[in-house]
């Protein structure tokens, strides 16, 4: 499998505090890599660096061989990078369909096209695509509802569909499970497994190891801004260094407790 995404020697400090301390990672085309680690480990910061919300002090972020670091955040989605947000960021007084169409902005054409009513010109094809994806995600019934009126779990799924509308080469998901109950997690996992089967490459921050095991082929563990382990989700779950990072003490002592 060919590599599509790579981070090399990523470093970032806030004030005097070095939050990301030389992270390297690599994702192959079609693979799902989980980024896990205790709270404050630096996972969201890595996402924000990939996104361009922060600028790294050092390091390269290569998507399909091109370094994203010098690229304006707005242009990165054109290069194939889309994300969902840990805290839902939909437009509450727009409909689900309209929110999802925002995800396809890069495919909507130039200034003149954008001055056309939403469903004319290229908008017609985009609307078909949006309806198709909402259908597949089991959200067809909510298409015309205002995003702000939906239950939390549904909004979380709309976020994923919106990101997919960009037809990304790499999909970043920041804690897709946070705030969902067990049943909603199950639905979301199935939905993401279906999307993954379609060949979408993903980088996923998630705490729920059951979810990670169900979705990702590999996991990388971050602690204090550094990689402490990498492997299959099953290996990671057994790794003493990982258990220590999460529990804060030696696994042996934990086992004897």
């Amino acid at each position: 499998m060919s590599e599509i995404f790579r981070i090399e020697g990523l470093r970032k400090s806030f004030g005097g505090l070095e939050v990301i301390r030389g992270v390297d990672l690599s994702v192959s085309t079609g693979q799902r890599l989980a980024l896990i680690g205790p709270n404050g480990a630096g996972k969201t910061t890595v996402f924000n660096l990939i996104n361009g919300y922060y600028r790294p002090d050092e390091g390269r972020i290569l998507l399909d061989g091109q370094d994203l670091v010098p690229m304006a955040p707005r242009l990165r989605i054109r290069h194939g990078l889309a994300r969902s947000f840990q805290n839902i960021r939909l437009i509450p007084h727009l409909t689900v369909e309209e929110n999802v169409l925002l995800g396809a902005h890069i495919h909507a054409g130039g200034a003149l096209m954008q001055a056309l009513p939403l469903f004319l010109g290229r908008g017609r094809a985009l609307r078909e695509q949006a309806r198709g994806l909402l259908d597949e995600a089991g959200l067809a019934a909510h298409r015309g509802a205002l995003a702000g009126s939906l239950a939390y779990g549904l909004r979380k799924r709309v976020e994923v569909v919106r990101a997919l509308m960009a037809r990304p080469r790499l999909l970043l998901l920041d804690e897709p499970c946070a705030g969902l109950n067990t049943q909603e997690r199950g639905v979301l996992l199935e939905e993401l497994q279906r999307i993954a089967a379609g060949g979408v490459t993903m980088l996923v921050v998630e705490h729920d190891m059951h979810f990670v095991g169900g979705l990702c082929d590999r996991a990388l563990v971050l602690n204090f801004g550094q990689k402490i382990a990498e492997g299959s989700p099953a290996e990671i779950a057994r790794d003493p260094a990982v258990i220590e990072a999460y529990l804060g003490h030696e696994p042996e002592r934990y086992a004897h407790a």
Binding site: I91, Q114, G144, A166
Partner: protein, 277 residues
């Protein structure tokens, strides 16, 4: 139609156009307190061209709108980097600069104002208001309109989806500026006399307030807001000196009951029989 009602409808039409000029930037979260200044530019440019240069009226009015649109483009490129309160203050300053220049510019009459010879009656002004409403409805239904709402809600997120936020905001601000100029040029040619003192920041504030009260979420809000601000004081006319107190009380009451404005997207969906959820 009686002269009284024709007069009120002219003011309503002009207020509607002014409301849409403020609505476009407001929809993207930008408070433009310079609207009256842009109206003044349109009014004076239109009046000078139709008077001193004897341009045909439609051209003079269109040129007035274009002039204020161009000024908005220029000013917008400079001040739109400011956010929130700072942007409001910057545009307020623009309003005062425009008014100050006109007050001291003797070629356009300075403080004594400028008489406008060509005259417009209600029908063309009403037609212009209808045209502006249709334009606003068109833009509101476009991707451009949708991105304005998205920017208002979450600029960073909208940018990450590839929207060129500053350019979109500048477009809204400049189109708004042109519409304000149109409102000003129509005003000048109906009232036959313009003076810089009319185009105060208070007028800008009133226009913005009418849009906020009407609601920025849909294209209907500015229309309802402008109608409210134009017609309600007339209804209270019987109360003579108390009419502005009554009007202000009504404004506060509505703001308290409908903080998102009279017309919200959800209310509109209920009205048209579509469930918001």
């Amino acid at each position: 139609m009686s002269g009284y009602w024709a007069g009120i409808l002219v003011i309503l039409a002009i207020n509607v156009i002014a409301a849409y000029s403020a609505w476009l930037p407001l929809a993207a979260g930008q408070v433009n307190l310079g609207t009256a200044g842009f109206m003044a530019v349109g009014a004076y440019a239109g009046a000078v061209l139709s008077g001193d240069y004897a341009w045909p009226l439609p051209y003079a009015i269109a040129a007035g709108a274009a002039a204020s649109g161009a000024l908005a483009l220029l000013v917008g490129s400079a001040v739109l980097r400011a956010r929130g309160l700072y942007l409001a203050l910057a545009t307020l300053a623009v309003n005062e600069v425009v008014r100050g220049i006109l007050l001291n510019w003797d070629a356009v009459g300075g403080a004594s104002g400028y008489p406008v010879i060509a005259h417009l009656e209600l029908p063309p002004i009403a037609l212009a208001a209808l045209g502006v409403f249709l334009l606003a409805a068109w833009l509101g239904a476009s991707r451009f309109g949708m991105t304005l709402h998205a920017i208002e809600q979450d600029e960073t997120m909208t940018g990450l989806f590839g929207v060129h936020v500053p350019r979109t905001q500048l477009a809204a601000f400049a189109i708004g500026g042109a519409l304000a100029g149109l409102a000003g040029a129509l005003y000048a040619h109906h009232f036959s006399y313009i003076e810089a003192q009319y185009f105060t920041v208070l007028l800008s504030v009133t226009i913005v307030l009418s849009v906020v009260l009407g609601g920025v979420q849909t294209v209907w809000g500015p229309l309802v807001g402008a109608a409210f601000f134009t017609l309600l004081p007339e209804l209270f006319r019987g109360a003579s000196n108390w009419r502005y107190v009554l009007f202000a009380a009504a404004v506060i009451g509505i703001m308290a009951l409908r903080p998102q404005g009279i017309v919200t997207r959800a209310a509109l969906m209920r009205l048209t029989g579509r469930k918001p959820a």
